[in-house]
Amino acid sequence: MSAQALDGASLQAVITAVFAPLLPAQWTGAALLQTLLWSALTIAAYFLALWLFKRARQHPLCIPVLTAGLLMGAILLGSGTSYGQYETAAAQLKWMLAPALVLLAVPLRQQLVQMRTVWRPLLGAVMAGSVTAMVCVLAIGWVFALEPEVLISMLPKSATMPIAVQGAQALGGLPGLTAVNVAFTGIAGAMMIGPMLRWMRLKDEILRGVTMGLTAHAIGVAHEMPRNQTSGTFAALAMSLTGVCTAVLLPLGAAF
């Protein structure tokens, strides 16, 4: 495909696509009211969850993603609001994720020196972890005799959501199942990894970050960032590498 055909028009299309949730069409009458209501509720649920997490002395069963998610889920189900309605109303909040991900470059830049000292174990761990995640799913599929399309949907469990969903979809998986599996993996990882590492007596913050980012992807990064900058940064790094690694390995795993 020639680059010329893509430059002017598509750059404009990209900009429109990127900023679509912020366009003025969203800011009138009933839509504005919905946006304000659901955004405010989500933000309130989030801060309530943060408060609870602090009150519970950071007990892994009270991690903010889980409590805030359960609370908002209950509100949505209770009020009979469909996820589609909620998604349009909270589009602005959801949009904030993209610039936040871009900003992960800042802590990465700040920890560059430290990164240079651990790149070998880091790459090794990312490879081993990505392969392990897939092998585990294949084993589960074998035990439960799952249908191939279910299995393919569950393969990319430790990648970030967009990579996993796109990858599974391209191979004929069910995007919904992938999304659910990825979200549950992230929440379970964020809950379990802290106690697990304590049990294994591995106290290193870099190690914690790498494990968190690899296993629990963006949810792990989000969990680590406010806790400790080092582990948060390495979680971000491991998440990115795992994303790429999974995208490459996925067709291989699906071949089985």
Binding site: V18, A68, L93, K94, V102, Q110, M196, Q229
Partner: protein, 186 residues
């Protein structure tokens, strides 16, 4: 104020360029990830992260969970699916996740121990945590230096860096701290 606008503009430009690159190459990656790489590439050319960008990053990254919430709630779309496939899903998300995490942690530990005998020393935080980007480069405005790295947990390290009691000859403690971080790996 202008610096903050510039920082926000830089982020958005990276985001758009990343999205554009994805469209151009058809890579199965999210645009934001490529945007992150672009911003990182840009930051490599600067001696240190600009103050305003650091502040914006700190605010945005601290509330990552909030930005993720609407996406996580997408699970609600698939409650039926959940009811049908709950057993494999539960095992996959609990058992497989635990195994993955254990293998990752163990491999990382093993490889970094193999890399040198200094595993404990190199990785004992928060002391070696080198946000030394502000310190390695001569800071033109020394007064802002404590703020120049806002994402870090500042209290312990900055007090350690600014008055090193064990090191009397070190008014130049900052380059020293940098050397330490690098010497750890032979």
């Amino acid at each position: 104020m202008f610096a903050y606008l510039l920082a926000i503009a830089a982020i958005l430009v990276c985001l758009c360029l990343g999205q554009w690159l994805v469209l151009l190459t058809g890579a199965p990656l999210p645009g934001a990830l490529l945007g992150m790489l672009l911003l990182l590439l840009g930051l490599l050319f600067l001696p240190r992260v600009p103050h305003a960008l650091g502040v914006v990053a700190q605010i945005m990254l601290r509330h990552l969970v909030l930005w993720l919430l609407p996406s996580v709630l997408g699970v609600l779309l698939y409650l039926d699916l959940l009811r049908q496939q709950w057993l494999p899903l539960a095992i996959s998300s609990v058992l497989a996740t635990a195994i993955t995490a254990a293998v990752t942690a163990w491999v990382f530990h093993w490889l970094s121990a193999k890399d040198g005998t200094d595993d404990g020393a190199a990785n004992s935080h928060p002391n070696t945590d080198p946000d030394n980007s502000p310190h390695t480069t001569p800071d033109t405005t020394p007064g802002t230096s404590p703020h120049s790295n806002p994402i870090s947990q500042q209290k312990p390290r900055h007090s350690a860096n600014t008055n090193p009691p064990t090191n009397p000859g070190a008014s130049s403690a900052h380059p020293h701290g940098h050397a330490l971080a690098q010497e750890v790996r032979p």
